[in-house]
Structures are given as C-alpha cells and as structure tokens.
C-alpha cells in the first residue's frame, strides 16, 4: 500500500505540473499584455508606457515566453506562487483567504448530500414502489432538473427577501450574502448565527448531487438485496435489521462512498454558481474573476490548489475503496 500511495502522489505532482503548463500555454495563446492591464487599472485609463515598462521588468514579462514559463514553474516548485497581476496580493494569501470558505461550503454540502441522499435512497429501496419511493423519485428528478442558479435565486428570494418583507418569524429569515463571520470551531462547525449563512448555499450546492446519490443508493441497495449472500444471511437466522445493516448496507454503500468523496473534490473548486448567487468569496468565483482579468499567477495557483484537493480526494476514495472491499488490492494493477 505504501508504494501505491507514493506512486499516486507522484502521479498527482505530474497532473499538477501538466495542468499548470496547459494554463500557461492558454494564457500565452490568449495574448494581451498583463502589464498594460495592470497599469491601466483594468482598462479604465490609458496606461503610462513607463509604468508598463517597469511592471514588465518587475514581473519578468519582457523575457521570452519559454523563459517566463521556466521562471514561473521554478518559483512554484519552491512554493512561491507569485502575486496577483491586478492587486499585487500574494497568491498564497488569496488562497488562505478564499480556501476555508470553499472548504466549509463543500463540507456541509457533502454532509447534506450524504445524509439526505443515502437516507432517501435507502428509504425508497426498502419500501420499493411505496408512496415514499414515488415521492423521493419525483423529488430527485425535480432537484436534478432545476438549474442551480434558478434554485439558488428562488430560495434566496423566498427566505432572504420575501421573508423580510412579510415579517416571517426570525427563524425563517436567512441572510443571503457570504458565509458569515469567521466563527467556526474545529474549522468547519459554525457557531452562533453563522449556521444560517451556511445552510442555504450548502443545500443549493448539494441539490443535484443529492438527487443523483439518492438514485444510486436506491439502485445499489436493490441490487444488493437481490444477492445470494443476503439470502444466506437471512437463512442463517439473522434479523431483518441485522441483514440490512451488516449485509445490505455495507455492500451497497461501496459505490456511494466513492461518489461522495469525488463530489467533495469537485465542490471545493467548482461551486461557482452557488458562490455567485450567494455572494460567497470562494475559490471558484475567484478563479473565474481572475481568468477574466488574465491574472495568470492567481489562476494557475488556485487551479493547482483545487487540483490538489481533487487528487487527494480521489486517492482517499481509492484507499477507502480498498478498505471497504477486500477484493480490491492496491498496487496490483
């Protein structure tokens, strides 16, 4: 297993480097002069040529592109991700500011996805064709069909605007901007009123994946319930509860855990729509904004962070997969 982890970590480094390289090439192809953009304050005034010249020297933009590439990559290899072309804030600081928000949002979204998705999937599998099954099936289709921004705006309008206009009780009114103050214990548990900031965006971010996970859980449970070893478990004299808990759930949740892990990896970097709707200062929206500004160091740095999270999650998923399913042996492929 040790070799497996080492090899995967090595692969991850390659992926990070490859991703950064592709981004660099894309920025090169897009063209434009970042120094000019910086000097013009994002295109608002005519840049002073001397300022542009100084900036070019300062950031090494006057050098040939391959040289710039090598310089940037070797700085990254030493842990220096450069600074924003636009604000001159170090990329590491931006990441420190933005990443916790994204992690917290993704964390709670995955919690919601896991509990609601697995719960309703189990319910509809155990009471197949019952009212509960029909309702969760329809709810799942609806939830996965509504675009995230529509769902987000609707909820925001309802609890953040309509609720205030119509004097709804305090518990039914929700703030709709950001993730609240930095009142967190253990880094992810909101204190005080902060949970009110988290619950709506987390729910919106989780909606589609929850619906998909519920369907997958249902299918996986039904498939497992038909398996011979479940019949054996019953023939051994176990109670229905023991059969479900030990023999159906354990086997049925193997694919589900995989999906949850990958979803977390995705949600950290790709929650742009949710972040936009709820004005949350996360990684995804920062990457989009910086890409528009051709702010190469920020885009490359944050993308590498997101890739690192995703790669780590998929490594953890593979490790947990081997733990959950003894037939899988790591490192034999």
């Amino acid at each position: 297993m040790g070799t497996f982890v080492l090899r995967r970590l090595f692969q991850l480094v390659i992926v990070l480097w490859g991703g950064a390289t592709i981004l660099f090439i894309l920025f090169y192809m897009v063209g434009g002069n970042p120094a000019e953009r910086m000097a013009s304050g994002g295109g608002e005034r005519n840049p002073n040529p001397q300022v542009v010249r100084n900036l070019e020297v300062r950031y090494g933009l006057d050098k040939p592109k391959p040289q710039q590439y090598v310089a940037h990559m070797s700085r990254i290899a030493r842990g220096d991700f450069g600074e924003s072309f636009r604000t001159r804030e170090p990329v590491v600081d931006i990441a420190k500011r933005r990443a916790p928000t994204s992690f917290r949002l993704a964390f709670w979204a995955v919690i919601i996805e896991g509990t609601m998705g697995i719960g309703s999937g189990m319910l509809s599998a155990r009471r197949r064709n019952s009212l509960a099954d029909v309702v969760t099936t329809i709810a799942a289709v609806v939830a996965s069909a509504i675009p995230v921004f529509v769902l987000g705006f609707m909820i925001k309008q309802l609890t953040g605007v309509y609720a205030y206009q119509n004097d709804w009780p305090a518990w039914a009114r929700f703030p709709t901007i950001g993730l609240g103050d930095n009142d967190w214990i253990f880094w992810v548990i909101p204190t005080g009123n902060t949970w009110k900031y988290v619950v709506q965006p987390a729910f919106v971010l989780a909606a589609v994946s929850t619906a998909i996970l519920a369907r997958i859980t249902r299918t996986s449970m039904l498939e497992t319930m038909r398996m011979d070893h479940v019949r054996t478990a019953r023939a051994k004299g176990l109670s229905e509860k023991q059969v479900t808990r030990k023999h159906v759930l354990r086997n049925a949740l193997i694919p589900v855990v995989t999906i949850l892990g990958i979803d977390f990896g995705t949600m950290v970097g790709a929650a742009i729509l949710t972040e936009t709707v709820f004005n949350i200062q996360g990684l995804g929206s920062q990457i989009v904004a910086s890409a528009k500004d051709l702010d190469m160091p920020v885009v490359i740095g944050l993308t590498m962070l997101v890739t690192l999270v995703y790669g780590t999650m998929s490594l953890l998923v593979d490790l947990s997969y081997a733990y959950l399913n003894p037939r899988v042996r790591l490192g034999d492929d």
Binding site: M227, D228, R231, T232, A235, K236, G237, H247, N251, R327
Partner: protein
C-alpha cells in the same frame, strides 16, 4: 412409526409476476426422517429450489404459499418472525448452489460463521471463533486458524463450499437443505464435497434434503428420492425403487440420459426431447405429456392430471400408464439400450439397436460420471 422430522404436505407456491401468476410448486408432498437423506430431483424450473426456500420462509413477498410444512409439531409456514429465525440456521440450515455469491465478499469467512453462531446462542466472540475454526477443520480445510481470517475470494470453489458446509453445521442443525450444492463447482471436487456432506451428516446424525438435477449423484447417497417436474411431484420412493422399478416416464428419461460406464463406446446419450414447459401456462393434463414418448390421448394424458398412486409400498408415481409400462418393463433403464424408446412413438431420439451391452449396473450412473 414415529413422526417424520419434516413433513411437507400439499405445498403450493404461486408467484405474482407481470405476465400473470406462475404456479411454481403444485401440491408437493414429502417427508424426511431424522438422519435420512432425501433427494429432490428435477430439471431447472421444476420447482425444487422454490420448494426448499419455502420451508424456511425465504421466498420473496411476491410468493404466496399454501400447504403445510410440519416441523416439530409446528407449521413453519405460519410461525412468526422470532421463531422462524430460531429455526433458520439453528434447526434447519441451508447450503446454496454457488458458494462464491452465497457468502458475503466483504466479510471474513470466519466472521460469517461467528455471526451465525452468535445469532443462535449467547456465545462470546472468542468461543464462537474457536468453534468456527473447529468447524473449518472438521470440513477438511487445511490451516483453519489462518483460513478463518481470509475472505471468500481467497478460497477456491471447493473450499468455499466446504466453508459453507462448516457454517451450515456450526449450530448442530437436525436438518440441512442443500440446494444444488455442487452445481457451481468443478467436476473434480463435486464428488469430494458431496461425500463430505453426506459423511458429516451421517456422523452428526443430521438429516439432509439434497436438491439436485443430477440423478447420478442421488444414486450414491440418498435414501429416498422425490422426482419433480413442472412444479409437481411425479415420482417418489426409496432410491432402489425409483432406480430399479421406475414408475414414471420422466424418471425413466432422466435415467436414460445419464452417461453409463457399461454402455457401448460411442453410443449417444439419450436426451429427453423438447423443453421444460413455461410455468406461466403449463400444459393441461399430465405436464410431461408433450415430451413423453408414451403419452396416449385415449388414456387422458393430454387432459387429465394423473393421480399420484402407490405402485409398491412407499413408492408412488403420477402417470396414467405407470402400471402398464412397469409391467412391460418399458421403464426399466437397465434394459437393452433404446428398446424402451423403440416401442414408443418419438421423433426426438433415434438410437440404432446395435447396442449389445445389456445394462447390468445397479446404481445408475453413480458417482463415476
């Protein structure tokens, strides 16, 4: 005579399906005495597995069951949840066809045995584990103390079925129902596993219901045989009666289709023509008539369900022509190969009558196949 250990009478099982009701088992009776081996024989779809599952209420809810399964004075079809759980595994245990799928792949083999032992008594984990190792040793698994901590995928097919047998025996049941226990195994280990099963059952005085499609297997180890066709019992009796005084053309067909050591080299096997009927619309009259070489319209084969009549003490069969055919010797599989078929009107099998070796074997195919 003492009451039999298990007595099944007039068992009917019907499944509701999208295509309409399917009568998988129709009026089956059989009984097993303590320590006895009963074989239930039939093709796939004859209802033998469904019969076995219904004994322990293991059929899905879409099955409706009627009849009686008497076990120690109780009708197992009617007992409620806690009691049936005591019976399952504790008094009657089952061995399934494919040990690879019948054991849970994500738990250690030993843990699965421990789980069963603990379900049937207040036993500490350590004691249950010791018992599991002891059982694995009993079924001839080498290094049981190591094997107990392995997963099913680390066992070979034969070993898995041995582990399954160990599990089935771990709570000292009085009856084991083995549903095609060797079908999924390599031919080379089939005999070993069966021998182990019957040997242990004999030693521990456990009765066995052996469900199989392989009459050859039956000959060597069963005391009694019940032959099923299309959900009905067509013949039942002691193994000797069924093999040597066959009372139903279907049983005869099964016996004739077995490879035999004493038949001519190159002589073709004689399969039963046609297909087993669809249970959605079983043929009227005797279910076997479309494939029966002896079926006669004027005797009611096509229209009337034959009564199950006693042909000799303890030997019953359900065939309109049984007495006549038995008297003729037409159902004697030891007769000259093909002779029985020649007299009959059949287009499915043609055997030239050059076979000169009259069957003298007394045990059908035995285990030599």
């Amino acid at each position: 005579m003492a009451r039999p250990l298990l007595e099944v009478s007039d068992l009917n099982v019907e499944f509701r399906t999208d295509d309409g009701p399917v009568q998988a088992v129709r009026g089956v009776d059989f009984s097993v005495d303590a320590g006895q081996v009963l074989a239930i024989v039939g093709e796939s779809g004859s209802g033998k597995s469904v019969t076995a599952m219904s004994i322990l209420q293991l059929l899905p809810p879409s099955a409706s069951i009627s009849g009686e399964v008497m076990w120690k004075g109780e009708n197992l079809l009617e007992v409620k949840e806690p009691r049936i759980r005591e019976v399952r595994g504790g008094e009657i245990s089952m061995i399934f066809q494919d040990p690879l799928t019948a054991l849970n792949p994500v738990y250690k083999v030993g843990d699965q045995i421990v789980e069963m032992i603990q379900a049937h008594g207040r036993v500490s984990r350590r004691d249950a584990r010791d018992r599991a190792i002891e059982m694995l040793d009993l079924v001839g698994i080498p290094q049981p103390a190591k094997r107990v901590d392995q997963y099913t995928h680390e066992f070979s097919g034969g070993m898995r079925q041995r582990a399954m047998i160990a599990m089935a025996l771990s709570c000292d049941p009085q009856l084991i129902i083995a549903d095609e226990p060797t079908t999924a195994l390599d031919v080379t280990v089939q005999a070993q596993v069966l021998e182990l099963l019957t040997d242990l059952a004999d030693r521990l005085d456990t009765a066995v219901v052996l469900i199989t499609h392989d009459l050859g297997v039956v000959a060597g180890m069963a005391d009694r045989v019940t032959v099923m066709y299309a959900g009905r019992m067509v013949e039942a009796g002691s193994t000797d009666d069924v093999f040597d005084g066959t009372g139903h053309p279907y049983t005869h067909g099964l016996l004739m289709s077995l490879p035999r050591l004493d038949s001519d080299v190159g002589a073709p096997l004689m399969p039963i023509g046609g297909q087993p009927p669809s249970m959605l619309s079983p043929p009227p009259g005797c279910s076997f008539h479309p494939r029966c070489p002896f079926a006669r319209e004027d005797l009611g084969c096509m229209t009337e369900v034959p009564a199950t009549l006693e042909r000799s003490p303890g030997h019953v069969s359900a065939c309109h022509r049984a007495d006549e055919l038995m008297a003729d010797g037409a159902l004697d599989h030891r007769r000259l190969v093909g002779a029985g078929r020649q007299a009959a009107d059949t287009d499915t099998v043609s055997v030239t009558d050059d076979g000169s070796a009259p069957g003298t074997g007394t045990e059908g195919g035995g285990l030599e196949r």
